[in-house]
Each structure stands twice: as C-alpha cells, then as structure tokens.
Symmetry: D2
Subunit: 159 residues, 4 copies
C-alpha cells in the first residue's frame, strides 16, 4: 500500500507503517531538493519547518485554532522550540513526522515531535501558550482538548 | 478517491483530477503554514519552489540527471525562470502542479509549469541548459530523452 | 570605505561602488550559508527573494505602500516575476542588488533588478498592479510617484 | 553612527550599541518582508536561520572550518538546537544577533545566541560536535580555538 502522503495519519495508520506505539498523529512526506543545504543533507532548520507544518495541522485537528481567523481566541504563542539530530537525511528520502502533547497545564502545553525514515532521525519539542486576544491574559484549554490530550496522546496533566 | 499526494502523477491520473489535456507530469500537494507570507496568501516566490521540486522529479524521471552524483554529465543549469500569478492561494488549499517540456534544441530545453486548485492559479517557465562537467561545452540531449519530450510532452523540436 | 550593508543606496553611492549608470536604488548584502543549495551555489530562487526584499524597500521609499497597514490603498499585486542567471554565486560573496522602474502605465509598473558582485550575476523583472482595497478596480499611481519613476529611474511612461 | 550591518561585530562595537557585557561576537541586520509569516511577525523558525548565519561566520572566524572544503577536518555536526521566544519582532525592525561558546569539551562545544532589538527578543543554543572526515571518530578542538573560547567568550572548559 503506498504511503498516504500528507493526510494526517492516526494511531492505526502510523502503527501500520512501523512507527512505535505512543504516537497518534503524523504526516508522511518526502525530502525535496530545496530542503538540502550545501552539505548535501537536509538542513537542520528544515526539520523545525516540518514540525511547524504538523503542529498547525494538529492544532486545527484538535480544535484549538483554525489559524485563519486572527480575532478568535486563543492566540497560539510558541514559547520554546528545540530539535535533536540523530542521523542525517538525504535527497528523496520518504519519512513520517509525528506529534503529540506530552504534558499540559491550565493554559499551556508541551508537544513532542519525531521524524522516522526507517529509523529515528530527529526529535523535537515545542512549548505553546494560549493567550486571550484582548490582552487580558492567558486562555484556559477547554475540556474537549484536555480530554484528547489525555486519551489520544497519553499526555500528563499538571496543575 | 483521495488525491495521491506527491507521487508523480501521469497523464491519466491528471485527467482524472480535472487537469486539462496537454500535461503529462504532475504532483499534488497542499499549502503549508510556512508558505504564507504577511499578506496571508502563498508568497509569490513559493510557487517557484513548487516548480523546482517538480522540475527535479521530472529530470530524474526522464533520466537526465539524478541530482546526486555531481560528477556525472550533464550539469543541469537553469538559465531563466518566470512565473505569472493569476489568482492567489490560501492556507490549506490542495493543488496540483504540472510540468512539461514545450520546446527543445540540441543541448537545451524550455519547460512550462502550471498550478491548478479548482481553477488555474499560476503558470511558469524555465530555460535549462545541459553542460559537460569537464568545462568543454554543451552536452547534447540523448535520443531517449528527446523521444519522451516529443511523445509524452508534445514538445516542439528546434534545430 | 566598507560597504554600507543594507542601507538603501542611491545613485551616487551605487556609482561609487562600481555599479553602471542607470540604477538609482540598491542594497548591499552578503551570501549566507542558508542561501546555498545542494549544488553549493546560491539557489536560483534566492535571487527572487533578494529582489523581493529590495522591491518592498523601494515601494516603501517611493511612498506607494508601507506594507503594514493592510487596509490602506493601494493593494500591491505582483502579476509576473522573472529572473535570468548569468553567472553563479558562492558562499560569502558580497553583492549589490539594484532596482528601478523601467515603464509604467496608469495603474501598473514594470520593475527591473540586477545583482552585481564584481560583474553582473543575474537580472530580473516584476510587473506590479495597484488595486483598490474595496474591490472596485485599479488604483491610479499618484503624480508624486510617477515623477520619481520618471526623474530618478528614467522610466518610460505609457498611456 | 549608522549600524555597520552584517560585519562581524566584536565586544567593543557590541557594547557601543548597547549589548550587555558577555557577548563578543555579533552581527546587525534588519527584518525582511520574507521573514514574516501569516501572523505578521517574524516566523519562529527564522530566528534559527539568523543563529545559523552567525554560527557559520563564528566558526569561520574562529578558524574551526571554512565550510567550503568538504574534505578538510573537522566535519561540523549540529547535534541540538533550541530557541526561546521572549517578545515578537515585526517588519523592518533592526536587530543585533550575538553568539558565544558557553562551554566546551574535548571534541564538542555548546553555543548560546541572543537577539536584541532595544530589548532582548529571543535566545538560543546549539550543541556542536567535531568529527573526523575519515569516519574514525571525534576530532579534538585545537588549542588555539580552546584559547579563544576561554578568553573571548568566557567559556567553561569541561574534561
């Protein structure tokens, strides 16, 4: 079965493509020429772009924001990003990038990412804060989102 | 039937997705958050990136270059690029980008591109020259490639 | 005298750095690692990014749009872009990119660009249309802008 | 005195532009249109690109690698990247990005980055490992580089 590129992949589809348990949201894609740098491998920063593309799809899918209406609450603010590089990636390689929420608080959550292409190539994290658009402070995560974090992602709830 | 994202799409698949006759090589994809600019539509330059991704796939598929071995003939040199913007594209839109060779000479060829998302959004061109790696001049297109240009793309042969 | 990087450079400064007569607006910069591609030279598309950066500075400098207030007339729409590549550029090279309006009509204008690094490396064009934000049609170029096109750029006025 | 854009700025120049003590290597630049995203501020990932540009200049300046000869030791491998976002940046803002080595071991070092535009906007880190090109393992940092890390950056030496 060919890989269903781009379509958000959920737990069963990820498992069918050999992704370890614990990931319930992912996307398949293929390295493009413009993602390589002068060292002939995928540039380090491009992985952060992959995480961003998946993060936006995840946040839309979980109903937190549509990223289109810039007046609707919440404003999604990325506070921290990180990436760890385990093994380089090269031209034309197919890969699956995965995302999940590892932990959440009342108004913020921490996401984890991974890139698999046969083996694990890179991991990443993001800390995301939800704000009210009117500038009066933080915006609490709704129960429906907290439930998905808990049930689909196995996230840890704090305070 | 869901769109088979990324996979090179040939004439029949393109026709099945409503692309006009005359295109025999394409790829489906979806607008990503990082491709939007401050004006909230796909940045003009991003279309050139889509054309590049498809051009590399096309040149590999047609057997001209694998873009990996940088000692093998020919060296592919882009001499000219252009794009015309007909209608803006927005977040999350799905599209098909198409490519063909419109005309070729002994050592060069002119490609055309189009982006369809329901209707035609943008077109583009590229003029490509083939060089020998040893610096002794131009590299003639092999007969197998000329035949594909003629038969699959309906390209016009000049001199 | 070190090159005053980034600062918009006008006719005298450009002449002092060896740019041919006929250019009255430019910017100096230096090739960055992230602008190289897997072929180890500046990626073709990056030149279009340089043209864009200078085009925005030019349009702000000429008083056409501040690119910030997205409700103010005119809406600046890029209709066509092109680039011609004469000689590749490599890591760390310093260059000057130049812009001018070559011709204008009542509601549109055609810009030209060039990249110099010792010699001429690339040229480009853009066709730009000015629209009213209320959707009622084209927005006429004000006399002050037409005068600068004529006097500073030597542009040709049509209709 | 206008800001000397791009030129590597050393401790005195940084201090003259209001950068806190403790930074001895930096570069000035200005936000470009193409660095903004659909939220109208500088995209999160663009800061990592700024850190990369400065990291390459720093590594060249410190004599570790010229990033051109891909056969010369060491191979510079980025193992980890991170960024923390304190305050958003907008169109046309001028900024100074700074870099230093905070700690080093025999064959690796940890860099820190900061972006100042009036106040502190973002910080970052990178963990960099030096490898031998022949695949036989790690490449030890030469004494001259260790001395610069200690004397110019105030880096901490470990094992």
């Amino acid at each position: 079965m060919p890989l269903p590129y781009l379509t958000p992949l959920h737990a069963n589809a990820l498992a069918a493509h050999g992704i370890p348990a614990g990931w319930s949201f992912g996307m398949a894609d293929r390295v493009r020429f413009g993602e390589l740098d002068a060292l002939n491998h995928v540039n380090n920063i491009v992985y952060l772009r992959w995480f961003e593309t998946l993060r936006v799809a995840y946040i839309q899918d979980y109903g937190l924001s549509d990223y289109v209406d810039q007046t609707a609450d919440p404003e999604i603010v990325v506070r921290d990003l990180s990436a760890r590089y385990l093994k380089p990636m090269f031209a034309n390689e197919s890969y699956i990038v995965t995302a999940r929420t590892a932990a959440f608080r009342t108004t913020s959550f921490t996401m984890e990412y991974a890139v698999y292409s046969g083996d694990l190539r890179a991991t990443g994290t993001a800390v995301i804060v939800c704000l009210k658009r009117d500038g009066t402070g933080r915006w609490p995560l709704p129960d429906a989102v907290r439930t998905r974090f808990l049930e689909e992602d196995g996230a840890e709830a704090a305070s």
